[in-house]
Amino acid sequence: MGLASASRAFCVCLLLFSTAKLQAQIKVASFSTVLSEIAKKVGGKDVVVTSVIKPGQDPHEYQLTPGDLSAAAASDLVLLSGKGMEGTYLRNLRDALPKQVQVLAVGDQIPSLTKGTDEGKDAEKEATQDPHWWNSISETEKATAVVRDALTRLDGQHAADYQAGATAHLSLLKELDSWVKRKVAELPRDRRILVTSHDAFQYFAKDYGFQIDSIEGLTTDQEPSVSHVTAIIAEIKKQGVKAIFLENTLNPKVSVEITRESGAKIGGSLYADGLGPGDGETYDGMLRHNVTTIVDALK
């Protein structure tokens, strides 16, 4: 066998090996920026993640596109935020995906906070669930475990790797929680009143002792009523709230009007609906940005 034949055989072997390795990777399509990061950290080299919803994109306004549907159909696992976030396109997505693609609504695996009445039909109950679980570090820890378990079920051979990835990520989340607690402790408990553009911080409020007054509801597609805005202005004046907060994906018009009427200032812009450009490119950066902005403005 000549040198040329040997080289050819080596190249073929290398190609086959690489292909086999690529085929072994689990393909994940994620409809949440936070879950994309979790899947990458837990999955490491064994997982390829396609982020369908990009950082800075408002998940409440997202519409399923044919291209995104193709990406989801080509994956092994589809990760959804859950708790009603994908309400407008969930049925279409589930109907269109091949049977072998596993769909996991991660938020549905962890306890919910609800707003308004829990009475009524299931569909109505779903509408009152707060989908913004990622604004709580403890809920994100639970989501990390859910993703780890899903990857392990799909690919048991790499279970130890997924466990190691999850453990490392959980350790970072624990450190982040400790930092958040200390930073929030700089703010007197009677000044922990968070006025935001839409109702996205209930989970955060529960963890760190805040009261929430939001201008819009759980979703971003409804304009606030005049009576609701008037009530918020009255509450800001009554409680002596120093600042209210904008969001990176929403129009600040109403918030600016409220500051004009109430005397409060704009405390800054928060990442409410997941990761975004700038400080919020990572979960750690997003939380640190939000907490620093809130505490420094309300102090």
């Binding site: 400790s178 607690k181 007197p188 408990r189 002596g240 005397g263 200032k265």
Partner: protein, 139 residues
């Protein structure tokens, strides 16, 4: 219109001046409200008592981002009084403790209010411990 030009001018000026009153009121309503005055923050004398299971122990207690009490304790029990804001929502104390011994140790902090209410929290650790402890009257 009858009458002298001077009287007419006086009447016009008087009418314009009368119009200024409602105009002034209307424009005043459009002004930006003054920033909210700071809410009165009642201070209370609180008594902090510390008990540690191991000495020597170095500790620091931080309140609203500032050091409230830091000491190298050589006795297992210490106490001190502080005048601090204590709203009905309670307060958070950030506690950092280090022990020379690496065995499991605990620091118990009792916060007593002027009305006799005593609120108690305990921190556990091996060599070191830190946490944010919340003291609330309704607990």
């Amino acid at each position: 219109m009858r009458g002298s030009p001077l009287a007419q001018a006086v009447l016009v000026v008087a009418a314009l001046l009368l119009l200024l009153i409602p105009l002034h009121r209307l424009t005043q309503r459009e002004q930006r409200p003054a920033p909210q005055p700071a809410v009165t923050r009642p201070t209370k004398q609180v008594h902090l008592a510390l008990r540690t299971t191991a000495v020597p122990c170095r500790f620091q207690i931080t309140f609203l981002g500032k050091t409230l009490w830091a000491e190298d304790a050589s006795t297992p029990e210490l106490a001190k009084d502080f005048d601090i804001d204590f709203p009905k929502e309670g307060i958070d104390l950030v506690v950092d403790a280090t022990w020379e011994s690496k065995a499991l140790a605990a620091m118990e902090i009792t916060l007593s209010l002027p009305d006799g209410t005593a609120l108690r929290k305990t921190l556990w650790g091996q060599g070191a411990a830190n946490d944010v402890l919340t003291f609330r009257e309704e607990e």
